[in-house]
Amino acid sequence: MLRAVMPMVAALGLVLLPHLGQAATITTLKSLKLDVPTSDAMFPAGPGSDAINNNCLACHSADHVLNQPSLSRKAWQEVVNKMITAYKAPVSPDDAKAIVDYLVRTKGTS
């Protein structure tokens, strides 16, 4: 009800004072059973794409990386180090190097 009212109020240029008593009337909650979408997208193919697909997609979707800005090799190395040391991604040294190279090649600066 609140949601339906707000756009109209904004259109009129008024400020609505919500009825605070309304919120206090909730007495029970309803169980939820919902599907949360995810993504099956893989990284664009190229040198190192197997390493980044195999090591990174278990924790986050590819768009996490693809939406990042272009960064220096040092910055990408720091990102990969953080995933391994802070977030415990089990990445082998060889794969870590391949991932950094992939990121620098596809999303590097200069």
Partner: protein, 412 residues
């Protein structure tokens, strides 16, 4: 204000990942279809994002990350009122492992640690057995506006929409702690939810507050937003609300409260979410030698919501400007508008005060004196007389940006 160009789209609904490996991921294929996108207009990397309507209980959202979800509130929502509709309240999760299936009868909130009596509270205990309060408060990610950092930095590339305002209904954390009885040695309170790391050994997402903050009578355990139960993705059935503080403290799907007798050493409290201990938490890129401190409170911010970058404005006749502001961890004292790039400022009229920690509307009239390019700026000063800075805040992780916003317009 940034221009958000919108074009037409669709995403597909998928089962929750829930720790699936890469092999099973590869079995699901992505159907391509015409997709509505938004252009966030940033240099140095992708500025285009899909608009999604595929997430449960959520309307049109900017898709910043599919999993774990980062869903940003489209900026036009902020022009429609001070309270963000629940179905467009932004969404941010650290770990992909959180349940989509929550049974309200079996759910329990545990209160343990340095307490006289460990509690296991049902939702009925919380909704029907404790006094309830309402607080309007902005939930803002510490990284809101990170995409505008110059130079760009890694992290969630939020534009200005990882903030949302709601009336939260719940019980005081203080009352719950008092029911358990905090022992004399309790110095911090740590909060955990139903979300779990995907990788073994990775740090569970936990955040802590000092015992005094936890008992201030404002920190609350919320079971409703804007009069309805919380959407799943905003933390159903319970989330911590820490008015005036960054959203990272607002632990979702809260099911564990632990009173500690020593400082919390977990990664998210002791290591993550750090900013330079400098004025406005700002440093020069490449600068070193500063101390790092945790992000805590929100800083004052204000936005023009009815005029976008690049808009045309009639010359020589009064035009309306309006928007929203919030004081951070206190109220809004004033919002000023500049039509000459910050050389001079004029006061605006504030809308009704609907809560110290919530958005406050402002509006005014202005007249651009000559045709051509003009720079509009809007500045909030909070009730502690702290104003938004006019220089560009930067820190390595892109946290707590609250520089005065600029909107370029053309008078004709």
């Amino acid at each position: 204000m940034r221009d958000h160009d919108v074009q037409p789209s669709v995403l597909t609904r998928r089962r929750v990942l829930g720790g699936m490996g890469v092999a099973s991921l590869a079995l699901m294929s992505a159907p391509a279809s015409a997709q509505e996108t938004v252009d966030l207009h940033v240099p140095g990397g992708p500025g285009t994002r899909m608009i999604t309507t595929s997430y449960p209980q959520k309307g049109r959202m900017i898709l910043q990350r599919s999993s774990p979800p980062w869903l940003e509130t489209p900026f036009d929502v902020f022009d429609k009122g001070v309270f963000t509709p629940n179905d467009q309240h932004y969404v941010s999760w650290h770990w992909a492992n959180f349940p989509g299936d929550i049974d309200v009868d079996s759910f329990r909130l545990t209160v343990r640690g340095q307490v006289n009596q460990t509690l296991s509270l049902s939702l009925k205990d919380i909704l029907q057995g404790l006094p309830r309060i309402d607080i309007a408060a902005v939930n803002q990610c510490a990284g809101n506006s990170r995409i505008y950092a110059v130079p760009r930095v890694a992290g969630a590339q939020w534009a200005d929409g990882s903030m949302s305002n709601a009336i939260w209904t719940g019980v005081r954390l203080k009352d719950v702690l008092d029911r358990a009885g905090v022992k004399a040695g309790g110095i911090q309170v740590r909060f955990g939810g139903l979300d779990e790391p995907v990788m073994a050994g990775a740090p569970k997402f936990l955040k802590s507050l000092t015992i005094d903050h936890a008992r201030d009578g404002e920190v609350m355990i919320a079971f409703a937003m804007n009069g309805e139960q919380l959407p799943l993705l905003n933390g159903f059935p319970l989330r911590l609300v820490v008015p005036g503080w960054c959203g990272v403290y607002w632990v979702k799907m809260l099911n564990d409260i632990e009173v500690l007798d020593q400082p919390d050493a977990n990664y998210w409290t002791a290591t993550g979410y750090r900013v330079p201990d400098t004025p406005h938490n700002s440093v020069k890129p490449g600068e070193t030698g500063f101390k790092m401190v945790p992000v805590t409170r929100n800083a004052p911010r204000s936005f023009i919501t009815n005029i976008r970058d690049g808009d045309g404005v009639p010359v020589g006749t009064p035009a309306s400007a309006r928007g929203i502001a919030f004081g951070g961890d206190c109220g809004v004292a004033r919002v000023d508008l500049s039509i000459d790039g910050g050389k001079s400022w004029q006061p605006t009229r504030l809308g009704a005060d609907q809560g110290t920690y919530g958005f406050r509307q402002w509006q005014t009239q202005f007249t651009l004196p000559a045709s051509g390019a003009h720079t509009l700026m809007v500045r909030c000063t909070n009730t502690r007389n702290e104003a938004q800075p006019d220089f560009r805040i930067w820190n390595p992780a892109g946290y707590l940006y609250n520089t005065i916003e600029t909107t370029h317009v053309v008078a004709a």
